[in-house]
């Protein structure tokens, strides 16, 4: 048994294409989920009972299911409804559905950590609700939400690997294609593992930078 790094060098273009798809999938998920999850979190905190119930049901149902089952829903289910999309789009849709639910819970905790007095002061000043959310609530919740947000981002970048099981040619899929092609597993899997670790580390670096920026004065 030996480790042959030249195998990775030879497969470099394929592996890079896979890595690229992983990064795009991850970024697309986060870009779509960030505003959506904020809306869901606000809906859960809404005084309108039906709205908070609907949001709560969505969040709890989704979180009870394996991501893979949700991806099967979008991968097999959409075509059977006559909606034909690429595996990438199907995976993106499923991951947005799931990540929004988890992220909404993370963000809700941050919103709830804003002191009650801030709500009262805004009420006493007669600030309209939308303005309160934009000018007071979110700026103050931001530093609290930062940590959980990036933790979720790291979970999400790892979860993109599951898209390989619904025919998306991302990093895990590209690595496994080489494994089955060459009957050598260690090199490609080590490459994939290191690539994911580096992506997680990169997210942690971004977190450190952002966290310094959003600190309250």
């Amino acid at each position: 048994m030996s480790f042959d790094p030249t195998l990775i060098v030879e497969a470099w273009p394929q592996l890079m294409r896979g890595l690229e798809t992983t990064v795009w999938l991850f970024l697309a998920v986060m870009i779509l989920c960030t505003p959506l999850s904020l809306l869901v979190a606000l809906a859960r905190l809404s005084r309108r009972r039906w709205l908070s119930r609907a949001a709560g049901t969505y969040v709890n149902v989704i979180r009870a299911l394996p991501l893979l089952v949700i991806l099967f829903f979008t991968f097999y289910g959409l075509p059977s409804l006559g909606i034909f999309v690429s595996p990438f789009t199907a995976a993106l849709g499923g991951m947005v559905l799931v990540t929004t639910a988890y992220l909404a819970e993370d963000l809700r905790a941050g919103l709830m950590a804003v002191p009650r007095g801030q709500f009262e002061a805004a009420d006493a000043l007669g600030l309209p609700q939308a303005r309160f959310v934009r000018r007071v609530l979110i700026p103050q919740a931001l530093p609290i939400m930062c940590g959980p947000y990036f933790t979720r981002a790291i979970v999400t970048v790892k979860a993109t690997s599951i898209a390989s099981l619904v025919a998306v040619s991302e990093l895990t899929s590209a690595s496994m294609a080489k494994v089955t092609e060459t009957y050598r597993a260690m090199e490609y899997l080590a490459f994939a593992a290191v690539a994911y670790i580096l992506l997680s580390a990169l997210i942690a670096v971004v977190q450190a930078v952002v966290q310094r920026r959003v600190r309250l004065p």
Partner: protein, 223 residues
């Protein structure tokens, strides 16, 4: 689109048989990784740098890799390294135990950190033996902090078992997948599977509430 649940009459028994693999996998992983997680947690909080730093590094690495990749490593690489034969269920247990040990190890470490420093000082002052005080004093107090994330990660584990299909374990979702391909009835099959996961989840939530009550009680008594 028509909706026809009769597909469960023909394919249901086959899919449900996958619950066996799902539950064996889950039980195996949770039982084996629990003591390992306590050891990992202790190592993560150890005073000795030689214990703490490797544990921290390893934990950081393992938690940075997707569970699916760890499963592939357990299935394709581990047997070669150890020079043994391993069926896919054993490989899945091994892979998930590795992953879960460090996830739960961090939970245990956080629990240990939550115990007031004064307790450690009191133990040292009284000269109590290490293992006994760990078991009788420190862990019971750490429990209220440990249990909620422990249960929520266990639920992640329930859902994670679906990934074992990727290395050939015929658990429930894999069988559901096969049934979808054979019948082209994705909605009927997936909704059934979703309901089963909902039931398992509800069971774990009940378990969490029960254990929180139990430990909270003890935690308050000793606090």
């Amino acid at each position: 689109m028509d909706f026809d649940l009769s597909v469960w009459m023909t394919r249901g028994p086959y899919i449900l048989r996958g619950l066996y693999e799902t539950l064996v996998l889950l039980a195996g992983v949770l039982v084996i990784s629990a003591p390992l997680a306590v050891l990992t947690g202790l190592a993560l909080e150890a005073r000795s740098r030689w214990l703490r730093l490797p544990a921290l590094g390893l934990s950081w690495l393992i938690r940075g890799v997707p569970p699916l990749i760890i499963l592939f490593i357990a299935y394709y690489v581990l047997p070669v390294v150890l020079d043994i034969r391993m069926d896919s269920l054993t490989a899945a247990v091994a892979g998930f135990v590795l992953y879960n040990t460090f996830i739960m190890g961090e939970v245990v470490a956080a629990g240990l950190r939550s115990v007031p420093k004064g307790q450690h000082e009191a133990i040292a002052a009284a000269g109590l033996p290490w293992f006994r005080s760990l078991r009788r004093i420190i862990l019971p107090q750490a429990m209220p902090t440990i249990i909620p994330p422990y249960v929520s990660y266990s639920m992640d584990m329930v859902k994670g078992t679906a990934l074992a299909g990727a290395i050939g374990v015929t658990e429930m979702v894999t069988r559901a997948n096969q049934a979808i391909v054979a019948t082209n009835r994705p909605f009927e099959i997936l909704i059934g599977v979703a309901i089963i996961y909902g039931i398992i989840d509800a069971f774990l939530i009940a378990l969490q509430m029960w254990s929180e009550r139990r430990w909270d009680h003890k935690g308050h008594l000793s606090a």
